[in-house]
Each structure stands twice: as C-alpha cells, then as structure tokens.
Amino acid sequence: MPSLKDLKNRIGSVKNTRKITKAMQMVAAAKLRRAQENAEAARPYAERMNAVMAGLAGSVGQSDSAPRLLSGTGTDKVHLLVVMTAERGLCGGFNSSIARLARGHAQRLLAAGKTVKILTVGKKGREQLRRDLADHFVGHVDLSEVKRLGYANAQAIARDILSRFEQGEFDVATLFFNRFQSVISQIPTAQQVIPAVFATDAPTALYDYEPSEEGILADLLPRGVATQVFTALLENGASEQGARMSAMDNATRNAGDMINRLTIQYNRSRQAAITKELIEIISGAEAL
C-alpha cells in the first residue's frame, strides 16, 4: 500500500505527463493542417502529370523504343525498396506499419530468390529494419534538418534513385509510405515507380506532340519519379502528424483516467487513515 505522499507525487507526475501529451497533440494538429494544405496544393500537378504520362505510355508503351523507365530492364532480379518513415517517434503505429509492410515485402522477395536493396528515408524506419535487414541497406536520406518539405527534397531523392537505376543497380523500385486517409486512419502503401505503372484505362486524347511522343515521354518519366516521391513525402508528412495527433489524444485521455483512479485511491486511503485515528481515540477513551 503506497503512502499518501507517494500517491500525491504520482498524481503530480501523471498530471505533468498529461500536459506534455496535450501540448504535443495541439502542435500535431496545427502541423497536420499545414501538411494537408501542402498535399492538397501539390495534387493538381501530380494528377495532370500522371494523366498525360498515362496517355503517352498507352501509345508508346508497346513499342521497342519505349524508354527503360517505362519498359523496365527486362528482368526483376534486383529490387530497390524505398522505405519512407518519420524522423521522430511518438506517433503511434505510423513507423511500425510502414516497416512491417516493407519487411514483409522484402522477405517475400528474398524467399523468391530475388536480391533486395533498401534505401531508407527517415531514421525511424532504418532503426526498425536494422535488426534483420541491415545487410541490404544501400543508402539513407536524412530529412531531420528539413523544416519544410519542398520539391527540391523529392528531386534529390529521385536523382539518387535514377542514378542508381542508370548504373544498373536495380530493376524494380518500390516506394513504401503511408497514404493519408484521415486522422485515425493511414494506409501503408507500396507503390512501384520503376518501371512506371499507370492505370490502363486512361483516355488517350488526340494530341500533337512536340517533339515526338517518345521524346516527351523520355523527358517526363524522370520528372514523374520525382513527382511520385514528392507526393509520397507529402502524404507521409500528413499521415505522420495525423497519427501523432491521435496517439497523443489517446495518451492524454489515458493520463486523465489514471489521474481519476489515483485520486480515488488517494482519497480512500486518506479517509481510512482518519477513521483509524478516530477508532484509536474512541477505544482509548472507552478503556478509561
């Protein structure tokens, strides 16, 4: 049975914790709004880009002159997994869900006899995958110094991926990130970027092309990779804040419950102590 003093200290410390989690929740809510706005603002570009590329890919895709970014290298022996996670924790299952999806994917590929290479973006994913997949790490992108995610960050990552592709380091590249659904739901997603895949039912409008269709496609495909990386980064950013917000909301609520329980316990033991003292006095008086 803890003493009254212990209980009082305990309640104080839980109250402090609740203050911190509450503050983190509010910060996350503010950041979430900004992240969502950024993701929203980036959508028109990504959508148009995709629509035009899908149209082009539909008409050029089958020919032999199709760029390798679209047609692939002809094999799928070496896979590059780009695992995008947060730089910071305390955001519920956000990082683990991406890591779990990537790990499952990697193990399936390894079991099928493929080679797996992993490029990590954000240190939390790296920490989680280090235990069993550390031998497959080929690079890491650190975004902890980045205050505001810009297209330049995505371009840098895309350039890294593309130069590896040109040097023949891998055949297939897949991005792993969380797609933002709502504050309580983020969907871990695996998206293949090289060779590029498009929805096949894209309407092929009749356009004149300057220069040729192949020329445009060759110019657009690398930009498309950067765009997809950028979209993934933004989705991830919004998901991270959403996950953190709901995790901290839970933590705040749990701290509240705990304070209530501890307060009841504290009051009971205080009452018990008083009763005990009264009994002692009364029985002392009766004995006289």
């Binding site: 950024n38 148009r48 995505a154 300057e210 445009i216």
Partner: protein, 126 residues
C-alpha cells in the same frame, strides 16, 4: 482562353487570357483560342500570358504544356513571376544546370539546357 500554371508545390496562377507565348523545346509557340490540341515540352525561358489588362511574364524551367482549344495548362518544375526573378535565381539555376551537365552522359542535352538558361537570363534582363 484559360491558362493554368502549376508547379509541383502549388498552383501558381490561373487566369483568362487572349494568348499564351510558350517556350517550347522545339521553339517558341503562341497558343490562342482554337489551337489544335498539342503537348510540348518546355525549355527554360519566359512564358508570357497576354490578357486585355496586360501581359504577365513567368520564368519557367522544365516540364510541359498541354494546349487544348479551350486553354493551356503549363506544368513547370519551377515557375517564378518575372518581377520576382532576380540574378541570384538565375545564378542558382545555371549552376544547377552546369552541375547536371558535368555528371550526365547526355552532354548535348545538358549543354543545351545550360545555354537555354543563359538565354533565358538575358531575355529576362538580369
């Protein structure tokens, strides 16, 4: 006709104009209402949107323009209104293009990009 200028980070401008002068990869072209549907890649240069109220000029690099009979949407990797562009911006763009030219296998294309950047800078008057 309608012109939309979109960058990866946001929609920069959307306006009603009478014509748009586009720095296409194969040469400049002007799109007016009723233009045949065309998709062209952009070279670094100046894009002018001419409206009754005046002309707005943007510095654009990389990307493409989609022209339909009703409007033009320009998807540029970088687009800056001309009055916000300065020497430092062009310096950084040219430096970036040079760096890319130094590492790539496609020397021809990369050098052309550098030359285009320098021409764009001269056209912008910086």
């Amino acid at each position: 006709m309608r012109v939309d200028i979109v960058t990866p980070e946001r929609r920069l401008a959307s306006a009603d104009v009478s014509e748009v002068q586009i720095p296409g990869a194969d040469g400049d072209l002007t799109a007016m209402e009723g233009h045949a549907p065309t998709i062209t890649t952009l070279r670094p240069g100046l894009l002018r949107a001419v409206a009754a109220g005046g002309t707005t000029t943007y510095v654009v690099t990389g990307g493409f323009a989609e022209i339909t009979s009703a409007g033009v949407s320009v998807l540029a990797e970088r687009a800056v209104p001309l009055d916000e562009a300065n020497g430092a911006l062009f310096d950084s763009l040219i430096a970036e293009a040079r760096e890319a030219a130094a590492t790539t296998d496609d020397k021809d294309g990369a050098e052309k990009l550098v030359a285009d950047m320098i021409a764009a800078r001269a056209a912008a008057g910086h």
